[in-house]
């Protein structure tokens, strides 16, 4: 006897509908029900950040959010960063700075970076490291990740100035 609920939400700007049981995490719903495998499972207990998504613009670990909780709300995953213009400046900055190696933690780090730059357009190195402390990376030693975030910030600020 299952206990499935119909959830209607917005994911990466698109309306979605899916069935899930209450005990299925948002991470599980994104990956296994909606087929959005860009968001990763690293630990399933909130300690690694590989599952980071934006929920109504707020950075959360999707392994600790229930699928049923997103009813009527908006989720952004790594698949929602690029648009028809091309890659998001954050993605471009990570490519240019080589801010990844195996790439497994990268979706979480990109989402966390977006959340940081949305809130703090000019973060210091310490602010970047503090904000990203919940996103574990085992390959890079974080140096090129921090530089990528700094480059992304610079790029986004210049674009803002150009638009103005």
């Amino acid at each position: 006897m299952t206990n499935k609920t119909l959830v209607s939400a917005t994911v990466n700007g698109e309306p979605v509908e899916f069935f899930c049981e209450p005990q299925q995490s948002l991470l599980e719903c994104l990956r296994d029900v909606l087929g959005l495998t860009g968001t990763k499972e690293g630990c399933n207990d909130g300690n690694c950040g590989a599952c980071s998504v934006l929920l109504d613009g707020q950075l959360v670990n999707s392994c600790l959010v229930l699928g049923v909780e997103i009813e009527g709300r908006a989720v952004t995953t790594v698949e929602g960063l690029a648009d028809w213009h091309g890659l998001h400046p954050i993605q471009q900055a990570f490519l240019e700075a080589d801010g990844f190696q195996c790439g497994f933690c990268t979706p979480g780090i990109l989402i966390a970076t977006k959340a940081l730059l949305d809130r703090e357009p000019n973060p210091t190195e310490e602010q970047i490291r503090t904000w990203l402390s919940g996103n574990l990376c085992r390959c890079t030693g974080y140096d090129k990740i921090v530089r990528a975030v700094q480059a992304a910030a610079c790029q986004l600020n210049r674009e803002c100035e150009v638009d103005a």
Binding site: A50, E125, Y142
Partner: protein
């Protein structure tokens, strides 16, 4: 941070972006857990909660009866084993008569959903007779220790032991006359070091999807360092013809040696065969800590002697390495690494490979090397201090040269260790003053042999002059790019003309695992050979088209020419190729029998809070000889990443057990890998002493940087606090105890 660009190269040495970058920053790259096939079932492995027990019975009937369960498998589903090694591998897949560690697999279930598979696993009735467990290596060597394998006897120079033992083997290396050497010494230092088991800590868990055709062909999608290693393992355990097994490697989310071994592929294959449906198994994170292959915890007793003039006269060491449940710890390579950089006239090293109730250890980036380097490089620091010498000057004075024989019996080839030490000495960090109280500055040096091995590449020319390069080697962190760059260099063409990809066991030649810092080196050689053969074939085609002898056809900078007026660009010739004798492609299969070793010197500045023992890393520099950096940006990344793993090994990481042999910290909360807040920017100095036997001078890069951090940090802690840590991890509690700050209450 950058190298002097080598003028002789056009592509090698460039900071090119990765070929796999777009997929990695958009989330499109498919990793092991991302694979899904139609009709796929979910598998779950039931594992022992006991560290040591006899497996009296397993009853799977209630699990099999559960609605939605398609298959349950145990050791009974595996073909019988032949050799001892075969028996160990079979037992580690599913336990038969004993479980030897918490997490030891006893059964697996395939069901419609993950939740159902887990529920069914809870219905499997397993009867255990719990036995005392032993997780400490010295305790496992005692006469009254619980014995893991009744038929294990110690192999040593004295032959095969007579009594059951947990000591699988004891080797001894002897050079010169150590007793005499110590008698000659003016200063002798010694220490006993205890180092904890650590895990590679890759963020992506092991995952495999297995599917069978109805005529017996097995395909396995898996995250691995070696598709052929997985195929070999499956074929061995399931007794299948090799051609009937296809292993498709996915992108890999970190490996560092821990994915050289297959953990869930055979179970997935067995379930898929019984269920007649594809089956996916993804290891939950706690199982990754409990039941894959961490590194060996180890104990060292080391003694070193030197004369007043600074020359080392003798060394002696005992190495006790935990192998986990089955023998085969990297105690041998630990011995090689420890004293490897130095010319030592007299030495004796005794190494012990000891089984304990833990998961069977596997490779972790320079296997066996880091804890031994910690033990020796802290003693080297102490010797230099007692002799009043600068730490780098002491190491330079004693450094090995090409042709020197090491204590382990090996001989150094072309090496760049001295150049690395000198570069470290010359860099600004080494001379920079400290900026406050409770700070210290430390240095350590390390040698790693690297590896060559078997690799294969296929290069195919397309009609528009572009090329596809299929490599046999799984790309862990960018080798498809460095291999393609080497092919482009050999072809004298821009790298954008080549698109590299990683093949599977059906469509590439045999390759050893992507490990041992061999991939850019050896698979690069294969790519270069394939490129050279493609050029030769193209020259022959041009000769046929022009009706001239092939010796008259020259190739340079992308242009074929003969006489004064015969000329094709590579693309123009490629357009004609299919119509002139069929396509042009070349597969190169190589076995690189020689390769260049690597050295790294690292400098750490720390601040230690004297009241809490907390260590803050203020500044960190990695200096390393890479022969010739193919892609300097990626080389820097390897240096920074390896050093950060070493920093975690130094300060935070270690398996903790209770008295029942159960691991207490099988999660990322209490098994603490460095976060972005725990390391500073990591400065890199790339030294290039080309290795003469590689066409471009390449040496392996990945492993050397993980070796020096614990010793560099320990030596810095000494200068900040006056105490020398002798334990890894160097936790705040350990430092408080050493400093005498924690008293008795």
């Amino acid at each position: 941070m950058s190298t002097q660009k080598n003028a002789q190269f056009n592509v090698v040495g460039e900071r090119l972006p990765r070929y796999d970058g777009a997929d990695k920053v958009t989330g499109k790259a498919i990793f092991g857990p991302d694979v899904a096939l139609p009709g796929m079932l979910h598998g779950f492995v039931l594992r022992s909660p006991h560290a040591h027990a006899r497996l009296r019975s397993i009853n799977t009937s209630r699990a099999e009866a559960l609605q939605g369960v398609y298959a349950v498998v145990t050791a009974a589903d595996l073909p019988p084993a032949g050799s001892t090694d075969h028996r160990y591998a079979r037992d580690n897949t599913f336990a038969s008569d004993k479980v030897l560690y918490v997490g030891h697999a006893v059964a697996a279930v395939a069901a419609r959903t993950q939740a159902l598979a887990e529920e069914a696993a809870r219905l499997i009735e397993v009867e255990y007779e719990v036995l005392p467990a032993v997780t400490d290596v010295l305790a496992a060597m005692q006469d009254d220790a619980p014995i893991l394998h009744e038929d294990m006897r110690t192999h040593s120079l004295a032959g095969r032991g007579e009594k059951p033992s947990n000591v699988a083997s004891h080797f001894q290396q002897l050079k010169g006359d150590p007793a005499h050497g110590f008698a000659e010494a003016d200063v002798i230092v010694e220490r006993e070091c205890h180092t904890a088991t650590v895990h590679q800590g890759y963020i992506e868990s092991h995952a495999a999807v297995a599917t069978w055709s109805d005529d017996g062909v097995l395909t396995v999608y898996t995250t691995t360092q070696g598709s052929f290693a997985v195929r070999d393992h499956i074929v061995w355990l399931l007794d299948l013809p090799m051609s009937q097994v296809r292993v498709v490697p996915t992108e890999v989310g970190g490996a560092f040696g821990g994915k050289n071994t297959s953990y869930v592929d055979v179970a997935a294959a067995l379930l898929a065969r019984k269920a007649r449906r594809p089956v996916k198994i993804t290891m939950p994170r706690p199982d990754v800590f409990l039941a894959t292959g961490p590194s060996s915890g180890a104990i060292f007793r080391v003694k070193m002697g030197a004369k007043r003039d600074g020359h080392i006269t003798a060394v002696q060491a005992e190495l006790f390495y935990e192998a986990g449940a089955y023998p085969g710890s990297p105690v041998g390579s630990g011995a090689t690494v420890m004293f490897g950089p130095y010319a030592i006239p007299n030495g004796q090293v005794d190494g012990y490979d000891v089984v304990t109730n833990g998961p069977r250890v596997s490779s972790y980036r320079a296997p066996g090397g880091t804890p031994g380097n910690f033990a020796v490089e802290t003693l080297v620091d102490e010797l230099a201090e007692k002799l009043g010498m600068d730490p780098i000057e002491f190491r330079l004075l004693n450094h090995a040269h090409e042709g020197d024989e090491r204590v382990d019996g090996g001989t150094h080839g072309s090496i760049g260790g001295i150049e690395v030490l000198k570069a470290a000495q010359a860099c600004e960090h080494y001379r920079a003053p400290l900026t406050g109280p409770n700070q210290g500055h430390g240095v350590a040096h390390a040698f790693w042999g690297n590896w060559g091995g078997r690799s294969s590449c296929t290069l195919s020319v397309n009609g528009d002059g572009s090329m596809n390069l299929v490599t046999s080697s799984v790309d862990l962190s960018g080798t498809r790019t460095t291999i393609a760059m080497q092919a482009a260099e050999a072809l004298e063409l821009p790298p954008e003309r080549i698109r590299p990809s990683v093949g599977d066991t059906d469509n590439t030649g045999y390759a050893d695992v992507s490990a041992g810092s061999r991939t850019t080196y050896a698979t690069g050689i294969a790519a270069i050979q394939a490129a050279e053969d493609v050029i030769a074939q193209m020259r022959a085609r041009a000769a046929a088209l022009w009706d001239v002898p092939v010796e008259n056809v020259a190739y340079a900078n992308g242009v074929f020419s003969a006489a004064s007026d015969l000329r094709f660009t590579f693309a123009e010739l490629a357009e004609q190729v299919t119509g002139s004798g069929g396509s042009v492609s070349s597969m190169a299969n190589i076995d690189a029998a020689e390769w260049g070793a690597g050295f790294s010197t690292q400098i750490a500045d720390v601040e230690v809070d004297p009241e809490t023992g907390k260590v803050t890393l203020l500044r960190y520099t990695v200096v390393q000889d890479v022969g010739q950096a193919v892609n300097p940006t990626m080389v820097e990344g390897q240096m920074q990443g390896g050093a950060t793993q070493g920093i975690g090994w130094a300060l935070y990481e270690g398996y903790a057990y209770n008295e029942k042999g159960q691991m207490l910290n099988a999660n990322f909360l209490d098994y603490k890998i460095p976060t972005a807040l725990d390391v500073p920017m990591i400065e890199t100095v790339i030294v290039e002493v080309p290795y003469p036997k590689h066409p471009f001078g390449v040496r392996g890069v990945g492993e050397p940087p993980i070796l020096p951090p614990p010793a560099a940090i320990a030596n810095a802690i000494y200068r900040a606090t006056g105490v020398r840590p002798d334990r890894l991890p160097m936790t705040p509690a350990h430092l408080l105890e050493k400093m005498g700050v924690i008293g008795d209450w």
